[in-house]
């Protein structure tokens, strides 16, 4: 075990130690941190973030970014509310829906299908048309938000039906449904990534796309699948969040994209692809949620909190950059640079 390997081992587990430290910090600094209701609060926030982060992690593992999930979130929640709510004149930026009062049993599948489809379109544009994933998903986010604004006219729409709210707001005993659900989903995805062909293919394509292709995988299909899953997770997150809030807010989810990237990076998912685990991302989600909650309890100005979030992201990135230095070189493949004076181009 060389020094660099030990270092890397620690770095990979670092997050859990940090998590512990942070929990201890808040426990002593703030009263009521470890109380039942507060922990539930943390987990509620973590649930939605967790769903979105799963989608982001899967895209990151394949070597791509998904910057559009929050737009998806925005559009789907607005659309769902618009369909479900009874009609009401718009007053003081509060409105009702279109008046069809569609039953949640129909609305929920529509959300899921639409969200998944949007994810698929992302994947299609990126793999078939070979467009840059940053740009495509960023633009998609703009478009989706724009449409959400058009539908909602910027108004908030309160009052989603109970049948709909079950996932986000319901409880089984004292424990919220969403928490249990999220836990199950994480377990499911962790299992999938470890034990299924899809998981293998994901890591292979993210680790070395061309070697994956030469090994019989289809990277384009895999990446499209990754984005499709991202879309699906965004749909689930929408259902959950809307169910909890019971009102659609036009600016929903602003900034969550960066949170999902941060959670993934903090949890050890490499921005370059091919490395990281679902449970790592989970730890990142927990950390961010705990810090959010703790700072809130300490009555820190909410906008400070945002600033701190940004800071955490930077630190996480710094650590990631250092980690890359210690990862064993994969021979010449690691020396990939743009210009022709790269080693790869020199070599024939």
């Amino acid at each position: 075990m060389s020094a660099s390997r030990v270092f890397q081992f620690v770095l990979d587990r670092l997050i859990w130690f940090i998590l512990l430290l942070v929990i201890l910090f808040f426990t002593f600094r703030v009263g009521g941190f470890l109380s039942g209701p507060n922990l539930i609060n943390i987990l509620l926030h973590a649930s939605v973030l967790g769903m979105l982060t799963i989608g982001q992690t899967i895209c990151l593992l394949s070597g791509n970014f998904d910057l559009s999930a929050e737009g998806n979130l925005s559009l789907l929640t607005v659309l769902a509310t618009w369909l479900m709510l009874p009609y009401r004149e718009m007053t003081l930026a509060q409105a009702g829906g279109i008046g069809w009062e569609v039953h949640p049993f129909i609305v929920i599948p529509i959300m899921l299908v639409l969200g998944t489809f949007i994810g698929y379109i992302n994947g299609f544009l990126i793999t078939r048309l070979k467009m840059n994933n940053f740009i495509v998903t960023l633009a998609m986010q703009l478009v989706l938000r724009g449409i959400a604004f058009v539908i909602s006219l910027g108004a908030i729409m309160p009052g989603t039906p109970r049948a709909f709210n079950w996932l986000g707001g319901g409880r089984i005993g004292p424990i919220p449904v969403s928490v249990i659900f999220t836990l199950l989903v994480f377990i499911l995805f962790a299992y999938i990534l470890r034990n299924t062909r899809f998981g293998r293919e994901l890591y292979a394509v993210g680790g070395n796309r061309e070697a994956a292709r030469a090994s019989g995988f289809n990277p384009e299909r895999l990446i499209t699948m990754a984005y499709t899953i991202g879309g699906f997770m965004a749909a689930i997150a929408s259902w959950m969040l809307l169910g909890r809030l019971e009102v659609s807010v036009p600016n929903l989810g602003v900034g969550m994209t960066l949170e999902t990237v941060a959670a993934s990076v903090i949890g050890g998912v490499a921005l370059a692809g091919g490395a990281g685990t679902i449970w790592g991302a989970f730890s990142g989600v927990l950390l961010l949620s705990i810090i959010d909650n703790g700072l809130n309890l300490m009555a820190v100005d909410p906008f400070w909190v945002n600033g701190i979030r940004g800071l955490i992201i930077l630190i996480a990135l710094l650590i990631e950059a250092q980690k890359v230095r210690f990862r064993p070189q994969v021979g010449r493949a690691a020396a990939r640079t743009e210009a022709g004076v790269s080693y790869q181009a020199v070599q024939k």
Binding site: R200, E210, A214, S215, G216, F217, P328, K348
Partner: protein
């Protein structure tokens, strides 16, 4: 030419360089004189690129020194290399293509007026003048990306010349140049010799090496084989140096084929710019080699059979069925597997464990419903191949990039063998591997063929091939020019090398 004391411009001494899994250079002594055009030849992976990367300061050395014009460097950075007068003209253009020719020439040093503002008229004038001095006429206001490739190449060379380089590395400069342009290029290069500029000329067009170089150095598997005056060599001799003096160590037991059962039949395969009218057959259990220098079309053909590149027109039959595969995924399904030349780039996902790398292509067979991998079956298969192929690894969970080169290659082999292909195409299977592992590799090949796999080896390691193949097909300039049956008198290294080099061609019957 009178004998004058040749002044040494570049001296690289005792260069050792290793990467994880491969010894790229071993004890290389490389010297270039002032005003000399020094050819550097060797197969892919022989170490040319590593040596040049070191010279340019892009890579460090494990041991050894570099001395340029009397100044010794042990650790060199790219800017030091540049300052010492080393310039590199790459095969693929490396210029600022969105900018104009003039700006590329004068980048970093644009003419300004007294107040520091760029004087554009002067920029264009100066650029034209500099090009003129070299006899080059280009539209300096044109963006580089709008130039043709030939023009881009010449501009790249001109740029190197402008930076007062003392030693210019030309990397396959004639790849896209038609004859008249090549003449012009050679004209420049020669005219600079008289000014004391030295060139390292890397090319696999051996005719050109003979045309323009004074001396030539041959690298092979990380060793410097020899440095000789070009006039003391002929093409055959050069190829012999490049391609193999290794003693044949492996001899495969060849059972005469009970019946000839063609597994792969290639008919009239043609791909513009690469190969033309390719016909051959590989039978069950047969080991056939496709030998040719770079540019002969052999590599492209190998990749085309696997769907990594386009195959072109013509037909390929595998076990009687037409090969329609246009991607490796489809090729594997149709029974064709391929061992890539660069295992780092195409063969392995380095960060993943041995177990995963071996089973990538066969996961379809190992899954139950919903894509769940059956861990037990996987483990059994992996263990079996690790054992059979003699892969040395602490455990199947070891990341492959931590294995030695030979073992990495075996992992790739295991992966391919596990797919139980009908045809196995191997591209330079022993490149960058030490002698012991080479024996292992050929043993594996031998066993696979005994099991009935039809094997096609793209390689020009003639002596090694003679030990393992049944037939050797030589490719030159895009066509198969000769076929040798191993065991017959004409199948000897000299004849084969000659054919590879293009001499003694007669069309196969």
């Amino acid at each position: 030419m009178e004998a004058e004391a040749k002044k040494i411009l570049l001296e690289m001494k005792a260069i050792h360089k290793a990467f994880p899994g491969v010894q790229a250079l071993s004890d290389v002594d490389f010297t270039v004189w002032e005003g000399e055009i020094h050819g550097l030849v060797g197969k892919n992976g022989a170490g040319k690129s590593t040596l040049m990367a070191i010279l340019m300061g892009l890579q460090g050395v494990d041991s050894g020194t570099i001395t340029i014009d009397g100044t010794r460097f042990s650790e060199m950075t790219p800017s030091e290399a540049l300052a010492a007068g080393v310039a590199y003209v790459p095969q693929r253009i490396n210029m600022m293509s969105a900018l104009t020719v003039a700006e590329n020439i004068l980048a970093g040093d644009l003419p300004v007026n007294r107040m520091g503002f760029v004087n554009w008229r002067e920029v264009y004038r100066e650029a034209e003048e500099r090009l003129d001095k070299l006899g080059l006429k280009l539209d300096v206001r044109q963006k580089v990306e709008g130039l043709g490739v030939a023009e881009q190449a010449m501009l790249a060379i001109a740029k190197a010349l402008f930076s007062n380089a003392k030693l210019i590395i030309l990397d396959e400069p004639t790849a896209a140049l038609p004859r008249p342009e090549i003449d012009r290029l050679f004209g420049f290069v020669r005219s600079l010799k008289d000014r004391g500029v030295a060139f390292i000329y890397i090319s696999h067009h051996l005719e050109e090496v003979f045309e323009i170089c004074d001396r030539v150095t041959v690298l092979r598997n990380g060793y410097l084989v020899e440095t000789r005056e070009v006039k003391e060599l002929d093409t055959a001799g050069l190829i012999r140096l490049m391609v193999g003096e290794d003693v044949k160590e492996f001899e495969r037991e060849r059972a005469p084929l009970a019946q000839e059962e063609p597994v792969m039949v290639v008919k009239g395969l043609t791909r513009r710019g690469h190969y033309e009218g390719i016909d051959f057959t590989v039978c069950r259990g047969e080991v056939v080699a496709l030998s040719g220098l770079e540019g002969s079309g052999a590599s492209a053909l190998g990749k085309g059979l696997y769907g990594l590149e386009r195959r072109g027109q013509g037909q390929v039959l595998v076990n009687g069925e037409v090969l329609t595969a246009r991607s490796p995924e489809e090729a594997l399904k149709q029974g064709v597997a391929y061992l890539p030349q660069d295992r780092y780039l195409y063969g392995l996902v380095g960060a993943r464990p041995v177990r995963e790398n071996i089973t990538y292509p066969i996961l379809g067979r190992l899954v139950r419903a919903l894509g769940l991998i059956q861990a037990e079956r996987e483990r059994a298969i992996v263990e079996r191949y690790i054992r059979e192929l003699g892969i040395i690894t602490p455990s199947p969970e070891q990341a492959v990039n931590l294995l030695s080169g030979g073992n990495q290659q075996k992992v790739v082999f295991a992966k391919l063998a596990a797919t139980q292909p009908a045809v196995l195409v191997l591209h330079e299977p022993t490149q960058g591997i030490d002698v012991h592992a080479k024996l292992d590799i050929y043993r594996i090949v031998s066993e696979l063929s005994a099991q009935g796999v039809a094997i096609l080896i793209v390689s020009s390691e003639v002596r090694e091939l003679l030990g393992v193949c049944d037939r050797i097909l030589v490719m030159y300039n895009g066509t198969i020019t000769r076929e040798f049956r191993v065991g017959e008198p004409e199948a000897n290294p000299a004849e084969i090398l000659l054919a590879i080099e293009g001499g003694n061609n007669h069309v196969r019957q």
